[in-house]
């Protein structure tokens, strides 16, 4: 069975990361499984983990009065869930719910933050990986806000 370090190394988020750094971050990781309908986290809770998705699909949701849980994004194999965990105040801004059976590597956010703090080269590598994802998701949110498929668009 493949070890965590190998799984991390092969995950697109860590593609090209130095072997030594992979070993370092693997020390913060564990395998997790979520059944369909199970939540990875809820809005308002401390952001203690972030997830490298290996299989399945996760819906990012916000509860809207009168509308229930509204899904604004889904994330699948090869993507990450939980970008809020690296940014103070380290609290989730939304809910994450497994749409189907989902396997992931969960990384302790506190552990990762500490390692990034004590090794800025690692911190820079991690930030280089987080930043494009943040920009892509911000851009996607802008387009969704424009409601381009709406009748008036």
């Amino acid at each position: 069975m493949e070890g965590l370090e190998g799984i991390i190394k092969r995950h697109p988020f860590f593609a090209g990361l130095d072997e030594a750094f992979c070993a370092l971050v693997a020390g913060c990781a564990k395998n997790v499984v979520f059944q369909a309908g199970e939540h990875l986290f809820h809005e308002g809770e401390p952001a203690e983990w972030f997830y490298l998705l290996r299989q399945g699909r996760v819906a990012m949701q916000v509860a809207a009065p009168g509308r229930g849980a509204v899904t604004f994004q889904t994330l699948s194999e090869g993507e990450i869930v939980g970008v809020s965990c690296l940014v103070a105040p380290y609290r989730w801004n939304d809910d994450a719910r497994a749409v189907e059976l989902t396997r992931a590597v969960a990384m302790s956010a506190q552990c990762l933050r500490q390692k990034c703090e004590s090794d800025h080269d690692l911190g820079y590598e991690i930030m280089k990986r987080f930043t494009p994802i943040l920009i892509q998701r911000l851009h996607a949110a802008q387009l969704q806000l424009l409601d381009v498929y709406g009748a008036s668009a």
């Binding site: 229930g68 849980a69 994004q73 996607a140 387009l143």
Partner: protein, 268 residues
């Protein structure tokens, strides 16, 4: 310029605002995927409407229309046996001949799936002529997905990759939520020899074309179907002028290398 009269053979609701009309085939012969007809609702006005049916089908002309203005609302309100005015087909369609032997990436947004459906019929009907076929379709919500049953049927085929994503959904939806661009980065195709057909709201097409270019597809191999205020459909009235081109006569399908600079001109 004089419309012929065609009767409505069938009317089908795709969504609460979008309807498909099947009309008697009274136009000027066969059409190329991506072309359009000018349809008129008598006493109301005329509008350009893309073909949305199978180009191999000769028994009827199929148009899918969203009720957004007086003309389209009147057209979608017609019933079986009612009459519609028809001129066409007009315009330059999708480059089906150029697509032969190549991977074909079809990117549709909202109602943009309708002008692409004839191309998809052609691609799937002559499947051996093409390489990989990828369809990435973005809609507003699960209830706004067009041609749902057909998409489900095509998805069961093993020779086309289909991804459908919506902008927002409730918890019942088990599919993707998000914009189409990330799917372009993940789709399996050979960008060096791929051709892309893109149709949807202009903002979405702009970013989809940029994402395709970033994925390695040449600008001259990315085709967009443009929409402007078309009136005469033969390049005479000037209503649909877009910089140096007339959308009705020179398009509506253009390669991205011809349009890229114009798409960023805010005054156009």
């Amino acid at each position: 310029m004089t419309p012929r009269v065609a009767r409505v053979l069938r009317r089908r609701a795709e969504t609460p605002q979008v309807f498909t009309l099947e009309l008697e085939p009274v136009g000027d012969g066969p059409f190329t995927p991506g072309q359009f007809n000018m349809l008129s609702a008598f006493g109301v006005g005329e509008a350009p409407i893309s073909f949305s049916g199978d180009p191999a089908e000769t028994e009827r002309l199929v148009h899918t229309i969203r009720a957004v203005g007086p003309v389209s609302a009147a057209l979608t309100g017609l019933g079986v046996g009612d009459c519609v005015g028809l001129r066409g087909p007009f315009g330059v369609g999708w480059p089906m001949a150029e697509a032969e032997g190549r991977d074909v990436i079809v990117v549709a947004g909202g109602l943009g799936l309708a002008p692409l459906r004839p191309a998809l019929y052609r691609l799937l009907g002559e499947r051996r002529r093409y390489g990989r076929i990828v369809l990435i379709y973005g809609a507003r919500s699960p209830g706004d997905i067009l041609f749902r049953r057909e998409l489900e049927d095509w998805r069961r085929r093993l020779d086309i990759e289909i991804e459908v994503t919506v902008d927002h959904a409730d918890s019942e939806w088990r599919g993707h939520v998000g914009v189409v661009m990330p799917f372009l980065a993940r789709a399996v195709f050979d960008p060096a020899q791929a051709i892309a057909l893109v149709c949807g709201p202009e903002i979405m097409m702009r970013f989809a074309a940029a994402a395709l270019r970033d994925a390695g597809v040449a600008e001259e191999s990315i085709y967009l179907s443009m929409e402007r205020n078309m009136k005469c459909a033969i390049g005479q009235c000037g209503h649909c002028q877009f910089g140096p081109v007339f959308i009705c006569r020179d398009g509506p399908v253009f390669s991205y290398d011809r349009l890229r600079r114009l798409l960023t001109v805010k005054e156009l």
